[in-house]
């Protein structure tokens, strides 16, 4: 299996740092792409729609972000999804343990699973190897 491309969409800089270091520790070949909010990520995906190497295999999506939050990202991503040469697997990642957030995420067809922060190294391993 070739090294996966992972997109981290989160405004939390500490989470970005710790997560990308953990991912690289698990597999030094992974490409981690960091986006501070949903809007930045969406415009990048739209630009690289036909570039399979730049597009992520996995997206880790935060809910609470300025401008374009996780929910808005999912709405807009659905519109560009068909034009992408590679369809990523989306995990929703949040520190929220609010049941409304969890059920809302799980009922969304684009979201494979909902992960509660903090995320351990072991959990990242399972995620990458899926």
């Amino acid at each position: 299996m070739s090294a996966p491309v992972i997109a981290l969409i989160d405004d939390d800089e500490v989470f970005q740092l710790t997560s990308s270091r953990m991912l690289r520790a698990i597999n030094p070949d992974v490409t981690v792409k960091q986006f501070a909010n949903g809007g930045v990520a969406l415009s990048f995906f739209a630009e690289q729609a036909e570039n399979a190497e730049e597009l992520p295999d996995i997206i880790l999506l935060d809910i609470n972000m300025p401008y374009v939050d996780g929910w808005m990202f999912l709405q807009d991503f659905e519109k560009i999804r068909e034009s992408l040469v590679k369809i990523p697997t989306i995990f929703m990642v949040s520190s929220s343990i609010d049941p409304t957030d969890i059920s809302k995420a799980k009922s969304n067809e684009q979201v494979l699973d909902y992960l509660i922060k903090p995320i351990s190294k072991a959990k990242f391993e399972v995620l990458i190897n899926q």
Binding site: V14, F15, N64, M72, S95, D98, P118
Partner: protein, 758 residues
């Protein structure tokens, strides 16, 4: 006209026949009897008349020339040939004659004359003269004519009445028939023959009885009235009704039988049919005479009275009739006797007929008087209708009615039975409920028990037969009102549809309902409050989830990293990040504390504040940002310069709105902030409009006033943001809203609630 040969003599007048001395006395006496004498000597052409003849003909001798022609001229034209024939006959045959004829006398009147002629012959038998008398028979003729007229009329009457008249001479056995014999009996009067012929034509079965009856009447010289069958000429028998009377002769014995008969076959047939009808009727019919005795009764009457028909007539069956209370009827109480006494009909008398085995058959009795044309009572007709079954049904009904009454008296509610709204019965419960007595209620319109404004509503339900309970308001006799539940049902009762209505006082229920609804309102208010509290809790949950858990999670991860790291430089990096995360938690906790304080402290001290002062203080705080961005602030507080408000809150509101406006300004345009106050409908409004980036409210509208990282990245604002000012404004009874379009600036509108300075 054949005339005997005569010598015609012309004379001025007829020779007067003078009585001769030898026979004068005879002629005189004839003349004195009013008879005229005349003679006509053969060979002479002159008829000689005595004085009396001239008188009878009412002419003078000068007016009669004595010729035969002149004589014939005097005779009535209709009788002329008859007279002439007879006279010719007398001459030619030598026969005496007698003739009656009419003459027309001068005054135009008709006079009847009887002429008698005597032929005188010589010894050789040759007629030598005719002599005779004439007399006036007008009076006799008149009587005769009248009699004939009467006879004609009588016949006509008899014919038109369809009766046959007869006059039977008992001694000769001859019968003079007249009237309608051929129409009725088929025979002409002649063919009817004598008494023997009549007797033979009577039906053999009826003959002996009829003749015996007539014989009896004949012996008593009395009237008779008999019916028998008589053989018609066509061979069939018809029913004859024959009545008349016997007349006695001088010897005191019956001499003449005068009578009339008519065909009553049709009537008998009709009567037979009618009788059969009466017999077969399902109601008993009896005809009584004026003494109350039964003359006729039909089969049903006999059945009902349990009598053999032959034993029925005249028997005092009434002895066995009982009233509904089982006591016997006295004779005066019986309908037939009532009718005899009052001559008015008596109806609807219920009587029980006690049978042989003491079983009782119940009958409804009616009695009707039959009077003749003069109004005299002739007969009484009574009818009996078997109502035993009805009685059974009725007593069953009464029993169930009694049960029902017991039941409804035991019921706590009021029960009324009404027919088209009028109460026909009710229980004690209804009296207690409404305050009326039972007497007052019965006959009253049930709608009067309903409060006026509900009557049409209730009436609608009565008319439509609505049978489910419904609430309305009742009104008592004293005018007081009460809550009422009504349930009505249409039921058949004694042959008609009536409505049973149950009244239930539901005042208590209504009161508890009211209490319940009051409590319900309270509960709703509490629930509303709880909902708000819950929303706030959810808000806090979110804050905890996103704003506290997130840095805590980071701290845990970073601590792990620090533990695993061998590199001091790396460790230092993690420590710095740990500090950032810890500060985040610190900030969030401060915010939460602030929000809780705002929410709990609605009685925060209010001050008399001037918007100008607050704006000046804010400008001072944001001095660096304003100068760096070149922001221009236009303020107008003239419409509402002051407000009674917590100073901390108003500072916070101004600081946040203005700092946001600067922060989200467009890079290529100098930020312009217009801030003003005004009063609308007694409330102070603040608007703060900028020319900045604007916000896509469709995307961000929901979270704009929520605790969000976006709004607390400025360390100077102590991280409070729109979330905090929203809480402050709402805590003071106000509201905050936003209007914005992307690239077209943002306007915040603050409604301060009723915080205006008086």
């Amino acid at each position: 006209m054949k005339m005997p040969p005569r010598k015609k003599v012309k004379r001025k007048s007829a020779p007067s026949l003078q009585p001769k001395k030898d026979d004068g006395s005879l002629i005189q006496s004839i003349e004195m009897a009013g008879m005229g004498f005349w003679q006509w000597i053969v060979g002479s052409d002159v008829i000689e008349w005595s004085q009396q003849v001239f008188k009878l003909y009412n002419i003078t001798p000068k007016e009669f020339d004595g010729t035969y022609e002149s004589f014939l001229n005097l005779i009535h034209p209709q009788d002329r040939s008859k007279v002439s024939k007879i006279i010719d006959h007398a001459f030619s045959k030598g026969k005496n004659y007698s003739v009656q004829h009419r003459i027309k006398v001068k005054n135009g009147k008709i006079r009847w004359i009887e002429g008698v002629g005597h032929v005188v012959k010589n010894p050789k038998g040759k007629v030598i003269k005719i002599a005779g008398f004439v007399r006036d028979i007008t009076a006799e003729k008149k009587i005769e004519t009248e009699r004939a007229n009467w006879k004609n009329r009588f016949d006509l009457i008899a014919k038109s009445a369809g009766v046959v008249l007869y006059d039977f001479d008992i001694r000769s056995g001859k019968i003079n028939w007249s009237g309608e014999s051929s129409e009725t009996l088929g025979y002409t009067n002649k063919e009817m023959g004598d008494v023997d012929v009549w007797g033979k034509r009577i039906h053999p079965e009826d003959r002996v009885q009829a003749i015996a009856l007539l014989d009896n009447a004949m012996r008593n010289i009395s009237r008779y009235d008999v019916s028998y069958r008589f053989k018609h000429k066509n061979g069939t028998y018809i029913h004859l009704h024959d009545r008349g009377f016997f007349l006695a002769g001088e010897d005191g014995k019956a001499q003449t039988m005068l009578g009339m008969m008519n065909d009553i076959s049709d009537r008998l047939e009709a009567e037979g049919k009618f009788q059969k009808l009466i017999r077969d009727l399902s109601i008993g019919v009896r005809v009584h005479n004026v003494n109350g005795q039964v003359m006729v009764s039909n089969q049903k009457a006999e059945e009902l009275l349990d009598f053999h028909p032959k034993g029925l007539a005249g028997l005092a069956t009434e002895n066995r009739l009982v009233k509904e209370d089982q006591s016997f009827f006295t004779p005066d109480e019986l309908p037939v006797h009532t009718v005899i006494k009052t001559k008015k009909k008596k109806r609807d008398v219920v009587a029980g007929i006690v049978g042989k085995n003491n079983s009782v058959t119940w009958a409804m009795l009616h009695a009707e008087p039959l009077t003749d044309t003069s109004g005299k009572l002739v007969q009484i007709v009574t009818t009996l209708t078997d109502i035993t079954e009805n009685k059974k049904v009725q007593s069953a009904l009464m029993e169930s009615e009694n049960r029902f009454r017991t039941l409804q008296e035991a019921s706590f509610g009021g029960i009324g039975l009404h027919d088209k709204g009028i109460i026909i019965d009710c229980n004690q419960g209804l009296c207690e409920l409404t305050g009326y007595t039972q007497k007052e209620l019965i006959g009253m319109n049930g709608l009067n028990l309903i409060a006026e404004e509900y009557r049409s509503f209730v009436l609608e339900r009565i008319v439509s037969g609505y049978d489910k309970p419904y609430d309305t308001e009742g009104v008592k006799k004293d005018g007081s009102r009460y809550f009422l539940e009504i349930r009505g049902k249409n039921i058949p009762y004694l042959g008609k549809q009536i409505r049973v209505t149950e009244f239930r006082d539901i005042t208590d229920r209504k009161k508890s309902e009211q209490k319940i609804s009051e409590q319900n309102a309270k509960l709703i208010a509490v629930a509303e409050d709880l909902k708000i509290k819950n929303e706030q809790l959810q808000e806090f949950t979110q804050i905890v989830s996103h704003n506290l858990r997130s840095p805590v999670g980071n701290i845990l991860t970073l601590l792990e990293f620090v533990e695993q790291s061998q590199n001091q430089k790396e460790k230092d990096e993690y420590h710095a990040l740990l500090k950032v995360s810890a500060e985040k938690i610190q900030n969030t906790l401060t915010e939460l504390h602030e929000v809780l304080r705002i929410k709990q402290n609605t009685n925060i001290e209010k001050q008399h504040l001037y918007f100008d002062d607050i704006l000046d203080a804010t400008k001072l705080l944001l001095h660096t940002q304003i100068v760096q961005s070149g922001t221009r602030i236009l303020a107008d507080f003239t419409n509402c310069p002051t407000i009674l408000y917590p100073k901390v809150y108003l500072d916070s509101i101004f600081l946040n709105l203005i700092s946001n406006a600067i922060k989200y300004g467009k890079t290529n345009i100098t930020p312009l902030i217009e801030i003003k106050t005004e009063i609308k409908e007694g409330t102070c409004y603040l608007t703060c409009a900028d020319n900045g980036l604007g916000i896509d409210l469709n995307k961000h509208g929901q979270k704009i006033f929520k605790l969000n990282k976006t709004f607390h990245s400025h360390p100077e604002s102590r991280g409070i943001g729109l979330f905090m000012i929203k809480n402050q404004i709402e805590a003071m009874g106000g509201m905050i809203g936003v209007e914005s379009e992307v690239n077209n600036g943002t306007t915040f509108i603050v409604n301060f609630g009723n915080q205006i300075m008086q």
